[in-house]
């Protein structure tokens, strides 16, 4: 039963919130209660998995190849915990004044629906079930984009919908062909049946599945939906999107390469490596061009997704573990950066860096917060991003991929340039408007509390990386079926 809680709690909360659509006050309370309950359940699940391995639920007591199976393993559990923490921070942020999302009647149901879709996609062990949760996350994300109602948000929602729909349709096609070839949908049964499929058939089938997940993960050349939509969202929702949406694709890719397709055909790994390098470079160059903080950070998401794909493409146990570590690190740090951008917008009056400035003198605390998150994203020791990049570069060198390691380091340098640009333009230079005064501090305590919480987790990841790296190594083992 415990394994089903990451989807039952948010789904129930979403339904309750939808029923309470005429009582916004109660909607807020139920929503907060649901989020806290999810946090407790995610922590319980995490403790159970750390102690005794994956928690398994067979729906309706159907034995493995026939029924739908939910497997909360170490990978899924850690991501569910991140989702629960992010949901709580977003709800906390809604109590502050900094770029909070307008709370229409559909806001809370969609928010919890998104978390339900993502949480269930992290723990399901059935391919078709995964498709259903992808669609739930998709429709809720489109709803959150559209419920602002402005033309640019509707435009973004349409582009997001059309491009992501192609991804889910390709996934459905891959599911149909894989089921036709093997007769299985369960990950474990499919993993055992796939080596028997002849290589000439396996490669296109696996390729179709991987392309569908790459669209969801916003990798090169399928990332167009991400920079077309992210910047139209209000700050807290944007932070939740960046922590969850690309991670659904990354989680599915880690499961595919780390478990389902083992031993992975080398052509697929080479192709993934090439796409990873192109994602890293194109994302960071897109970020260098832009001046709107949200667009800069959105393009950096593509570049960071490239790092995760590179870690997966290394193809070793340590590579998969690094991809999981990097995904956890990126969820928290990128959300922190988007939230910092929302605070900069609140104080300086614009998201575009050509209209901001002067915050170092007036808001030194915010400057420090942003700097720590930014340096963590760049990968400066001893912050969490350093360990992720260090492990990727080290493992690439050990596997003889010197070019990959070189590109990873060069992209790190370009990331540093973008972060420096935000720092100089938002904090260091004078504000372009001589009459500008910072907004008199109004109800920002919840916002700063949430950000500090994120920062503490990031610092813990950076200062004591052993615990988490050990955990992710066990997670990679359990994907390969070596440990429970």
């Amino acid at each position: 039963m415990l394994a089903a809680l990451p989807l039952l709690i948010p789904l129930g909360t979403a339904l309750l919130c939808a029923l309470l659509h005429q009582a916004p006050h109660w909607q807020r309370r139920v929503s907060l209660g649901g989020a806290l309950l999810l946090l407790v359940a995610a922590w319980q699940l995490f403790a159970a998995v750390t102690a005794g391995g994956a928690v398994v639920l067979q729906a309706g007591n159907w034995p493995v190849p026939y029924g739908i199976e939910l497997v909360a393993d170490r990978l899924g559990c850690a991501l569910v915990l991140v989702a629960a923490v992010m949901l709580c921070i977003v709800l906390l942020w809604q109590q502050s004044a900094a770029d909070r999302a307008p709370e229409g009647a559909s806001f809370y149901p969609l928010l919890h629906g998104l978390v339900a879709g993502a949480g269930a996609a992290f723990v399901t062990a059935d391919l078709f079930n995964l498709y259903v949760w992808f669609e739930l996350a998709l429709i809720c994300a489109v709803g959150l984009l559209a419920c602002g109602g402005a033309l640019r948000q509707l435009d973004a929602a349409f582009k997001y919908l059309a491009l992501n729909l192609v991804g889910t349709l390709l996934l459905l096609a891959a599911i149909a062909l894989l089921y036709g070839a093997t007769g299985h949908l369960n990950f474990r049964a499919l993993g055992q049946a796939l080596p028997a499929v002849e290589p000439g058939l396996l490669l296109p089938l696996a390729g179709l599945l991987v392309i569908a997940f790459l669209i969801k993960a916003a990798a090169f050349p399928f990332f167009a939906w991400l920079p077309a939509s992210y910047h139209t969202l209000p700050g807290p929702v944007l932070a939740l999107f960046s922590a969850l949406l690309t991670k659904i694709g990354i989680c599915a890719l880690i499961r595919t390469f780390g478990g389902l397709l083992q031993p992975v055909p080398p052509q697929l790994l080479t192709l993934l490596g090439a796409l990873a390098l192109l994602s890293m470079v194109s994302g960071v160059l897109g970020a260098a061009y832009h001046w709107d903080m949200r667009r800069i950070l959105a393009f950096h998401s593509i570049s960071q997704v490239g790092y995760m794909l590179l870690a997966i493409a290394i193809g070793s146990r340590l590579g998969d573990a690094t991809a999981i570590f990097f995904a956890l690190h990126h969820s928290l740090v990128k959300a922190g950066l988007f939230l910092c951008a929302a605070l900069i917008f609140h104080q300086a009056g614009h998201y575009d860096l050509r209209r901001t400035g002067g915050l170092y003198a007036t808001r030194p605390g915010l400057a420090l917060l942003f700097l720590l998150f930014a340096l963590s994203l760049v990968g400066i020791p001893p912050l969490s991003g350093f360990w992720g990049k260090y492990l990727i570069v080290r493992e690439s060198l050990l596997q003889g991929q010197f070019f990959w390691a070189g590109v990873a380091l060069a992209v790190g340098a370009l990331t540093f340039y973008s972060m420096l640009k935000i720092w100089i333009e938002a904090f260091w230079k004078k504000h372009p408007d001589p009459d500008w005064r910072p907004v008199a501090t109004s109800r920002l305590t919840p916002a700063y509390t949430g950000l500090t919480l994120l920062l503490l987790v990031t610092l813990w990841m950076g200062l004591f990386p052993d615990t988490l790296i050990g955990y992710t190594l066990l997670a990679a083992d359990s994907l390969r079926g070596v440990s429970p």
Binding site: F128, I139, A146, A150, A162, L165, L169, W291, R295, F345
Partner: protein, 128 residues
């Protein structure tokens, strides 16, 4: 029989892909829906086409012989329901966009990504 279905899947998916890449908003939505229906047909075919018995086991029997595979049909039904919900939502979104943009040309839909006038600097947006 399976070749007939393959031909149908090919025809529907080709038509869907052609329409989905159209610049006209409504054609694009219809194309995506057709694409979804083509893939539903593919899913239906994944259980093999045969005229089998209904997959209901006899009270005394322990084995089911000569029955059709019910799973792909259940999967197809689920996929149809989901794609129908998405179609309804995307049509509502499309109608709002048609009213706002005054025309169905998707090239004019640049509200979220305004075209740049300067080759080096992105456009400065007034709205936050």
């Amino acid at each position: 029989m399976i070749w007939g279905l393959a031909l149908a899947v090919f025809a529907v998916i080709t038509a869907g892909a052609y329409l989905a890449t159209s610049r006209d908003l409504l054609r694009c939505l219809i194309g995506l829906t057709l694409l979804g229906n083509g893939i539903n047909l593919l899913l239906f075919g994944s259980g093999r086409l045969q005229s089998g018995q209904p997959p209901i086991i006899d009270r005394l029997a322990t084995e089911l012989v000569g029955a059709a595979n019910p799973l792909p049909q259940a999967l197809t039904l689920t996929a149809i329901v989901i794609s129908f919900a998405l179609l309804c939502f995307s049509l509502a979104l499309g109608i709002r966009l048609l009213a706002e943009v005054r025309g169905s040309d998707l090239q004019r839909l640049r509200a979220a990504e305004p075209p740049a006038s300067d080759p080096l600097k992105p456009p400065l947006e007034e709205a936050p």
